[in-house]
Symmetry: C3
């Protein structure tokens, strides 16, 4: 798609400084943009690069000055960039219908405009909304239910009875509804605990590639509206993830954890079972969380601690060899003092 | 399936307190159970919830009292729950035979009652036992051999010559028999070391979703009877995992590690190559194991240390800023003492 | 394939001590080798095992002595083993052509000798070189381009427009070209940032099983010549990995990281976004890297620090309970000294 700079300024509710009629075909960073691209600067820090960019216009913060360039001043240039990029890259994919090379079970219900690629498997009693795209190798188990405008990327498995809300995107290789890890000790062996629940994913969720989200032992594993997960995230049985929470790559959440809304778990974080992580919490990368975290906390480290404390302790850890030496030296000095005073330790 | 409470009491070898004839259709936790469900309480701690549950009966420990409710007293309520749930949820899936939409190579041998879904690929010279189910997107390489009653979930790849024992379950997206990571330095480049071995998985093993288990460089990577792995577990070439060992989610085991039987590795643990982890070992979550661990040890931390020591050290780490201050203060006090005594440090 | 020991000695540029005419059919470790196998010893340490092996010959370092055995002395026995094993295990797989059960989009271009298995999906405008093998369940998106002699293992997804160089191997279950994790905050919600770039993988790269490599937001995520990744590696958008760098299992690289050539990241390492890791760097297992690392450094720990320092600190961590006690004892001794001198602290 193409847009004029004037149209863009209107769409992002921005103040245009410069001519309105140049045509924009793409979005690119300042140093990579060409004359058909619009670019963006998130702060004054990028003033020099704005001066040098070949972009035909730049999305900038309110008050930003650069008389040589066409500017579109907006409250949040990063968000404006995302919105413009979305508009420019929206391609109305052709509706393919259901490929003859897909397998469709009994009692399939769907909206009129769906795309089911070759190599898709749809079990019995599956219902999907309108505007759904199922890419090659997707497997939907029996009784799966899905809203409108869902996109399931290649080789994703969504197992029996799981429910997927409207506008959900699931990236390639992900597994939704695998059995939770539940085995009751029985002498030296284990007896499997049947995993009888489902996974429920609400609207506007985006799940990364090669995620594994286990069905509940009883009831639901529940990913609420607007959650975004990165790649290789593991979510165990009976976990609840609140609205608009972000789970960055390789995070692992153990069973029955409840996470609030608008929380962020950075990459490679692990959360132990049965904990509650509050709303608007931030957990730093690689943290190992063994205790519940109240609303609004910023936590880092393994074991997790307040982020400021973690900054201090992780600095000190590098100084432990010095501390050890210093401790030894102090001991010697004390001994000398004790001897000088005629006192013998011990 | 349905069972009367009387039948359940017999099946779990329990003592029934209350009427035997109510019909049970499901299992549910105390707070979610309805009048068709049986529930369970693992200890006296749940006495109040047992009083309030809507379940028609509750599996409880020996000696548990609650006169208002129908109770089934058993030695191990959690195990009894698993057994009852298994009985209630056992559905005899219809035997589908081999779908026309599956591809079957030359010289395929199988038991009479198997289910091969559309989109399955079976290479040449493959043998599978009776009662095997291969879900959509499963790929079996040439020469794969499999016992009876194996269930392979969607989009699993089992590569050439690997062997799978009876009653094994492999969850979706898992890869068995990928090449081990072996590259011999050759100047600045690397020469690949052919991975000529196989993966052998013994009976009653359950492998989670999106696991990767590499074939051996020479010989076998060997997962012994009764092992259970959670999701996203990585097992490198030539690893041996002993009977009934549990590997929790996102564990990574480097090459040529040997792990004993009835051992537990908690989530996100890493084990360095060529180590031996003993029998009945427990390794705490997120531990990084760089030394072999003898039988029966409980180890935590990175680097791994005895669990009790780790509890102490991880408490002290949070107090390092205090320790540093205290050290500084002691230094000052010593200096003052030295001055008082007319001694000069240095 | 079979080779005589004489042929092997020539091929690895080695010095043969013993008869040249025995026939070698395989390679095996010293303790597993039979009379048809050649084995290898990387150092003098293995002298006793060389004496006891049943192998018909052993690849050994220059100067190695063992008069009872046929030896082939070489500069680098491990590399020589890799080369011999490659020769012995090279099977010229039959060329299958394009299976009728594969789906091929419009405008597909390919070399004359390719193997496309049943269940492969190839989008529109795809070009692949000669000698390419696409295993079952492989999905190539629209516009994918691939060089010669590429092997793509089962259930791999390579999404739109990604480019794969010659002689690349990609193991099962991997996803190339999933969307990067980019979401601009928009009040309490997030607006997705379109991921418009691609993944470019250069020649001679080997990618492990269940990797996820995200396409760039703009431009390319770039894996350069000779890189080898182990299983379950995550590489985010806009990352650049330099030539011949090794990424061991479960490594996670955040967005816009640049890694140099001939660098090694050990298992479970995490690297934070926008960092630069130099050439010939080694990062120890499970390290959490939060700062850029210059060329040639060896770094370990989380936060990362020079490896020698990390060795010291991780030893001291286990002694923290002792240090704490010692600190307390010193405090008491100082107090006693102060009292003896008639001084009151505080």
């Amino acid at each position: 798609m193409e847009l004029s700079i004037g149209e863009i300024a209107v769409l992002v509710d921005g103040e245009l400084l410069g001519p309105a009629d140049s045509v924009v075909k793409g979005v690119a960073p300042l140093d990579q943009a060409g004359p058909d691209d619009i670019s963006f600067a998130v702060s004054e820090k990028y003033r020099a690069q704005v001066g040098e960019t070949h972009a035909c216009a730049v999305l900038v913060p309110l008050g930003f000055q650069e008389p040589q360039k066409t500017l579109v001043r907006v409250k949040n240039p990063y968000l404006a960039m995302a919105k413009v990029s979305t508009l420019l890259h929206t391609v109305s994919e052709p509706v393919l219908g259901i490929s003859q090379r897909a397998y469709v079970g009994n009692n399939f219900k769907c909206g009129p405009d769906i795309s089911v690629y070759p190599g898709v498997f749809i079990g019995h009693d599956v219902t999907v909304g309108n505007g759904v795209t199922l890419h090659p190798g997707v497997m939907l188990g029996n009784g799966v239910k899905m809203g409108d405008d869902v996109v399931i990327h290649p080789n994703v498995s969504i197992l029996n009875r799981c429910r997927i809300g409207s506008r959900v995107v699931i990236h390639a290789g992900t597994v939704i509804g695998s059995d939770g890890f539940g085995h009751a000790p029985d002498g030296d062996r284990y007896h499997k605990i049947p995993q009888t629940g489902i996974v429920r994913i609400d609207e506007d969720v985006e799940i990364g590639a090669c995620n594994t989200i286990d069905r509940a032992t009883f009831g639901v594993t529940w990913i609420k509206r607007g959650v975004k997960t990165d790649n290789q995230v593991h979510i165990a049985h009976n976990v609840v993830v609140g609205e608009n929470t972000l789970l960055v790559a390789q995070v692992g959440i153990a069973g029955s954890v409840t996470i609030g809304h608008n929380t962020i778990l950075a990459g490679q974080v692990g959360v132990a079972q049965h904990l509650t992580i509050g709303n608007r919490v931030i957990i730093g990368p690689r943290s190992g969380i063994g205790k519940s975290v109240p609303d609004g906390e910023i936590v880092s480290g393994a074991p997790g601690m307040p982020h400021r404390l973690w900054l201090k302790t992780s600095n000190i850890i590098q100084k432990l060899p010095d501390m050890k030496k210093k401790l030894k030296r102090l001991e010697e000095r004390i001994k000398m003092l004790e001897e000088a005073l005629g006192r013998n330790e011990k």
